[in-house]
């Protein structure tokens, strides 16, 4: 499947959303899929299943910390993005992958698990809880949206993320702890290395032609 890769760098959440919507239309028109990689300034995104009690501070307190809040059209509950977290938005035509939301989510999980294996981290699935997990802690969050079988939103991998920021929320509505590649390896990790490995694993799992 033809695919182009674009690194958006550090980009505001709403700008990245607009880029995704633009490519959703373009993928429908020209069939060339797009894999977007980026980081976001600190932001909380509230998915369609978000329960208010999963914000552990008031909106005012959160905004005072310089963290924006957005209601968005993906599945799942609240999550946090911030610098040091690699966010990947696959704008893929799911008619190529069986028109199956669960199968797509499972493939994203496998990409995440394979990526972490490249860092000698053994991550697993957690039944009924989408994402990738290491020792009971969540390291990769996944939530997607689909329009006319074109995907948007995607996955977020904690690389060098400041994990203290997650204290503002119950991530994904769960009483869980988050972890990162850096905290597991005991050192900061090259974001470029993670991006390169992420691309490699997407190419393999989704049979992409770059």
């Amino acid at each position: 499947m033809a695919c182009e890769i674009e690194d958006l760098g550090l980009i505001d959440y709403t700008k990245a959303y607009a880029v995704q919507m633009d490519y959703v239309q373009k993928v429908r028109e020209n069939g060339i899929q797009r894999l977007l990689l980026c980081e976001h300034p600190a932001v909380l995104t509230l998915g369609r299943m978000t329960k208010k009690e999963n914000l552990l501070m008031s909106s005012g307190e959160i905004l005072d910390q310089g963290v924006n809040i957005h209601n968005i059209d993906r599945g799942g509950d609240v999550t946090l993005h911030s610098p040091g977290q690699l966010v990947v938005y696959p704008i893929f035509d799911l008619t190529h992958y069986g028109k199956d939301l669960h199968a797509y989510l499972s493939k994203l999980e496998q990409v995440a698990i394979d990526l972490l294996k490249d860092f000698d981290i053994v991550a697993t699935r957690f039944s009924g809880r989408t994402g990738a997990w290491v020792g009971g802690k969540k390291i990769v969050s996944i939530g997607v949206g689909v329009r006319k079988w074109i995907s948007y939103h995607g996955l977020a991998v904690n690389v060098n993320t400041d994990l203290n920021l997650f204290k503002m929320i119950r991530p994904c509505g769960l009483n869980i702890q988050m972890t990162s590649i850096a905290s597991l390896k005991g050192k900061n990790i090259s974001m470029q290395q993670v991006k390169d490995l992420m691309i490699k694993n997407f190419i393999k799992s989704f049979q992409l032609h770059i």
């Binding site: 369609r48 059209d73 993906r74 599945g75 689909v146 006319k148």
Partner: protein, 79 residues
């Protein structure tokens, strides 16, 4: 008249929740218009009108869960 159904969303997915309607009764819609957003645990899915016409009836309100294959709305054909 045409029916807008909750489509097959994948193996093991039997239900979806209507997250929000992008139209209301009486609206003119076109085949390609996304008229309703469904949500199933970690994914949202937008359903298109499928035909040109006027929205005659909305059968499943926001926040309600329904089985795959359920009728979401009825569209009366227009020229």
């Amino acid at each position: 008249m045409s029916q807008v159904l909750i489509p097959e969303l994948g193996e093991g997915i039997e239900k979806a929740v209507v997250a929000c309607w992008h139209c209301k009764v009486g609206d003119q819609v076109y085949e390609e218009d996304d008229i309703v957003e469904l949500v199933t645990d970690k994914a949202t899915f937008n359903v298109s009108a499928g035909s040109k016409g006027v929205v005659k009836q909305i059968l499943i309100p926001e926040g309600k869960e329904a089985q795959i294959g359920s009728v979401l709305a009825i569209i009366e054909a227009s020229t």
